[in-house]
Amino acid sequence: MSAVLKAEGLGVHTGDLALVQDVTLTVGRGERVGLIGESGSGKSLTALALMGLLPEGLHATGSVRLDGSPADLVGADEDELAPLRGKRMSMVFQEPMTALNPTMRIGDQVAEGMLLHRAHRRRAAARSAAVELLDDVGLPSPAEAARAYPHQLSGGQRQRVVAAIALANDPDLLICDEPTTALDVTVQALVLDLITRGVAARDAALLFITHDLGVVATVCDRVLVMYGGRIVEAGEVAQVFTRPRHRYTSGLLAASDLARTDDGRLLTIPGSVPQAGAFPAGCVFRNRCAAATSACETLPSWVGPDPEHGHACVHPVEVPA
């Protein structure tokens, strides 16, 4: 399987403060990879760094390569990045209410990307392709929706539009940053379904960012667990979710399991996610970890056959043989 996206040692910094460190990940064609962690763990920054869309004042280090593009995307300039964005790689954002331009018609916003990347040269053709695409993502009466402005659509409908924009040029890589978090539970499943169908139809690679373990379990093949700006565990979803090794992963799983209680109270991970840059040296999780010892004061090394499988924990959860 060829890797569509390959990031190595990716970091995000502001000044000399490291917000994301040493993230290594690959996503293959047709593969669906989840990136999970609590808010503040650096998931969104990782996604923006991959797209080259970090906000001002933040910069990326390491390397990001997209299959078929010779340049390293980290440190590439706009002339190299702009033709790739929306064409080879695209992104669905978390907040559908603000992700669309309030003063431009839906159809024009969808058609814009196609015109830009020369999928259609004529405006009229791009417009009708946009309507088709809106139909494809399941908007009722797509022709009408194309003429509408964002405020006339519901949150779920807007997220479908954002997905349509992202899928417009049949990208090789789709990055979704919490695409369903802001939506009603009833709508979530529909949007998830259209994303997975859209990706499957195009045989595209999917990097799916969420804090919702249930979503990862239904959508993804592989998963990366992120905490404190670092990948702490990775592997097949079934493997990681049933036999977690990193103490953070097991805590996260225990906390998300509503059936497991401790004296009638829901299980939680003690403490809270520290402020960015205030994570302890060594193992980033050690100040919240019951198993932490002085050995955790040095950065744990990666235990596993490859960066896609393994964990970084000195005291991993024992696996029943």
């Binding site: 917000l19 969104s44 402020q275 960015a276 840059g277």
Partner: protein, 277 residues
Amino acid sequence: MRRRSGTLVIGGSLVAMVILAALVSFVWTPHDPGLVVPQDRLAGPSGKHWLGADKLGRDELSRLMVGARTTLLVGIVSVGVAALIGVPLGLVAAMTWRWLGEILMRVSDFVLAFPAVLLAIMLTAIYGSGVVIAMIAIGISTIPAFARVVRSGALQVMSTEYVVAARAAGRRPVGIGLRHVLPNVTSLIIVQASVSFAIAILAEAALSFLGLGAPPDVPSWGRMLQESQSLLQQAPRLAIVPGVAIALAVLGFNLLGDGLRDLLDPRLQQRRVEVQR
């Protein structure tokens, strides 16, 4: 952040300079600002007249210092009165019935259609010119700014949880207003006062430039500028001196307002936290 505090320092220093000039002028000026010395007519800068002398031989620096007094007096009275009226209006508009707030805001929209200088001209036509007329006109046209700023700030505070809780606990509106709302909009009021002061200086200068402000025997920057107009050939300096004074004073209060806003506005601190997400 560092550059911002630079704004505050520059603005503060300029304002301090104007205030200092005005205060010193009460006890000392290089010469009597009204003293006519015919042989010093249009004299250039020298040891005797640091900034030269005007067409009557009056010392330019002395007139400039006393002029600062006029500028500040008009500013303090008009902005002060506007705040005294505008702040309670804004609070009432935010804290009582919605319709009252709407009406007050419509009225303030309406007052904005009468700029200070226009109002002053109209009043002058009836009552004759004078500093008091200038103060009244500038004061009236400054009220809406305070009312609006305080209302929007107060509305924000009113929707915070602690105020909602206080209201639910049955606290009286007046109590809530004085205890919770007013302290939280104080910074907005201070910033607005600084910005309004700059606008008041501009209006006062325009009025005295038109000969509608302070009487001719009271030195004022606007009038000094107007008198220089016929002498641009011989002594352009006479235009530049009061002109620079006006511009620096306005710049000072504007920068002070900007600097204070950054210093006091809690929303900006929030924005900084957001970046760290």
